[in-house]
């Protein structure tokens, strides 16, 4: 099911966030139960993913990274084909050649996912250049982490996008962690958005756990990129609620920090707001959650029933 884009109905957005959570919860359960392929969970970052992706148009392209399930599901990816990819099946978006870490889905406009931290930042200006020179509609959105902002390529990328007037919406999901290193150990600034000014680009930070705030900020940023043809840097301040890789007991994480962010769970925040506004009740919320879990049940079933790739096709697509 491909949602229309953009989608601004807050109940739709909450349903998407619940789908992401159900997907990540299921992967965590599978990983805890036994050997399961590595994957980097996006749980806790649902508002950032859904808030931004729901603000994009059908012609816009997305580049993402290792922590991509939220972006893909928010864009309308089929959870069955995602899980099939994670489980190495031929029916996956990349025919089982990617696994969880670099899933692209060209049909959804999710292109060139790189799991080299910063790889997506190196490719984004070229994707935007091609759109501009070929006169194609749409802007390019590039998701990266606070760790990627420590790579030199972040600075090269935003500088080139600025100098060449390229329509790139840079979205930094600052989730406080860079694998097993806390962000505070790696930078003295608390604002990644502030880097933008050095390159003549506008930057803005937003509460990344508030889906309405992210959505509004992303709509405005995307509109500005569209109108000006120039880049914009949006930083979503959020938190990686689970470990870097499943499974992980999070023993290296400060309990106080974890508790602080658990109290700011993006799904709970959205639920409370919608209930307070009379747009949803507890039964409705329970129904949305059950629907999401049912979709993931079906997705697991699809993935498990799917065939593995044929080893005779080991060398398919090395060269064009």
């Amino acid at each position: 099911m491909k949602p229309t884009h953009p989608y601004s109905d807050p109940v739709d957005q909450l349903a998407r966030m619940l789908l992401v959570r159900a997907y990540e919860d299921r992967i965590a359960a599978l990983a805890a139960a036994g050997p399961f392929p590595a994957s980097c969970p996006s749980a806790g970052q649902e508002a950032a993913a859904v808030g931004v992706v729901s603000a994009l148009g059908a012609d816009d392209l997305i580049l993402t990274n290792h922590r991509s399930a939220g972006h893909l599901l928010a864009r309308g990816a089929d959870p069955g084909r995602l899980l099939a990819e994670v489980m190495g099946r031929e029916t996956g978006y990349c025919r089982g050649r990617s696994g969880s870490l670099h899933i692209s889905a060209k049909e959804l406009g999710v292109v060139l996912t790189s799991t080299i931290v910063g790889g997506e930042l190196s490719l984004a200006p070229g994707v935007a250049l091609a759109r501009s020179l070929l006169g194609r509609p749409g802007i390019v959105t590039c998701f990266f982490g606070d760790g990627a902002a420590c790579e030199g390529i972040f600075h090269e990328s935003i500088n080139l996008a600025s100098v060449w007037n390229l329509p790139v919406l840079f979205v930094c999901e600052n989730n406080e962690w860079q694998a097993y290193v806390h962000r505070r150990e790696t930078m003295l600034t608390d604002s990644i958005a502030a880097h933008a000014a050095a390159y003549g680009v506008e930057g803005r930070s937003v509460d990344g756990n508030d889906v309405a705030a992210v959505h509004a900020a992303a709509l405005a940023a995307a509109a500005q990129v569209r109108a000006s043809g120039r880049p914009f840097l949006l930083e979503a301040r959020t938190y990686r609620a689970r470990g870097h890789l499943e499974p992980d007991d999070q023993s290296h994480v400060d309990a106080g920090e974890l508790a602080h962010w658990q109290a700011r769970d993006p799904i709970a925040l959205a639920r409370e707001r919608l209930i307070a506004a009379g747009q949803l009740d507890l039964d409705g919320f329970a129904r949305l959650g059950a629907e999401a879990r049912a979709r993931i049940d079906a997705a697991v079933e699809f993935a498990v029933q799917s065939p593995y790739p044929d080893p005779a096709e080991l060398l398919a697509n090395v060269y064009a």
Partner: protein
């Protein structure tokens, strides 16, 4: 026939392909400044100077290639490829396969290398084998002006990422180039000279050293066959194997250092597939496992010369 330097042949190939296909564009540090005729004809959208930032130059080419353009980037000197490795090796070389075939990466990376200009180790480093060792990439290294033009035109039309290495020592040596439209296929070696006694395999300016050695050997009554690989990947295995089956002796010549070089790969290929045809051990004449020196005298000592090739053949033939 025209008489052109490889530098001019590259310019002609770029201009012809940019005329032929509006999706071809070129960028790099100083490209628009130095290739004036191109920027005059095609304008600032398609011929661009870039910031001094090789990683993003390469990344931008890769991103553009995957989404509809055919970029040619000039990374200047081959050692600068180190800054560009991620985009070329991890993205262009892998994301087609990793994505299950969703993307293609039609792009060409130009880089100069090789002795002859005294620029020293951080500008002169024959790194072509690194890319042969990386899946998804093609590697080209021409030896004369006609091939510079014909191979570059084919590389631009190819749907895969192509590393196009320009041997500095050849860049300003004029040669004959066919006047009209022509291309040279990738993956096809050229037999530059026929002979029955020994096969000399080389690429880049080592081809000229082999030709000179073959002339000296001819005066001594020895007939050397000279094979110019032209493309290092895909490798023209059939031409190499056919020649070795004929001559029974193989000397591999390249300026790049010996360990895990292209010569090592060809030696293994021949050992696997034509061992029965060999009348003598395979010999490599290569650059040493050392950074390239700047001094002209040391540079000459570093680079395989005709007399070393002659001496190697004489040892083989007894």
């Amino acid at each position: 026939m025209l008489t052109l330097t490889p530098y001019e042949a590259i310019d002609q190939a770029l201009a012809e392909e940019m005329r032929r296909d509006p999706t071809v564009l070129m960028f790099g540090e100083g490209v628009a400044t130095k290739r004036r005729a191109l920027s005059d004809e095609f304008g600032g959208q398609r011929v661009r100077n870039t910031p001094l930032a090789e990683a993003i130059i390469a990344g931008t080419a890769v991103g553009a290639a995957a989404t509809g353009l055919r970029p040619v980037v000039d990374l200047l000197f081959a050692p600068f490829l180190c800054y560009a490795m991620d985009a070329i090796v991890n993205s262009a070389g892998k994301l087609r396969y990793v994505s299950g075939g969703q993307f293609a990466f039609p792009l060409v990376t130009l880089a100069m290398t090789g002795g002859g200009w005294g620029v020293g180790a951080q500008h002169n480093h024959n790194v072509e084998a690194w890319f042969v060792h990386s899946p998804g990439l093609k590697v080209v290294m021409p030896s004369d002006a006609a091939d510079f033009k014909g191979l570059l035109k084919t590389a631009i039309r190819d749907d895969n990422p192509v590393l196009f290495f320009v041997d500095l020592g050849l860049l300003h040596t004029p040669g004959e180039v066919p006047a009209g439209e022509f291309t040279v296929p990738l993956g096809q070696a050229a037999v530059r000279r026929e002979g029955d006694d020994v096969t000399l395999v080389a690429y880049g300016k080592s081809v000229a050293a082999c030709q000179q050695a073959a002339r000296t050997l001819a005066e001594q009554g020895r007939a050397a066959e000279v094979i110019d690989l032209r493309t290092l990947k895909p490798l023209d295995e059939a031409t190499i194997l056919a020649s070795v089956r004929k001559t029974g002796r193989l000397v591999l010549v390249h300026e790049a250092s010996r360990p895990c070089g292209v010569g090592a790969e060809i030696a293994a290929l021949v050992a696997e597939q034509a061992h029965d045809a060999l009348k003598a051990p395979i010999v490599r004449v290569t650059g040493p496992d050392a950074p390239a020196p700047a001094s002209f005298v040391l540079e000459q000592a570093f680079t395989p010369q005709a007399d070393a090739i002659v001496a190697a053949v004489q040892r083989l033939l007894g």
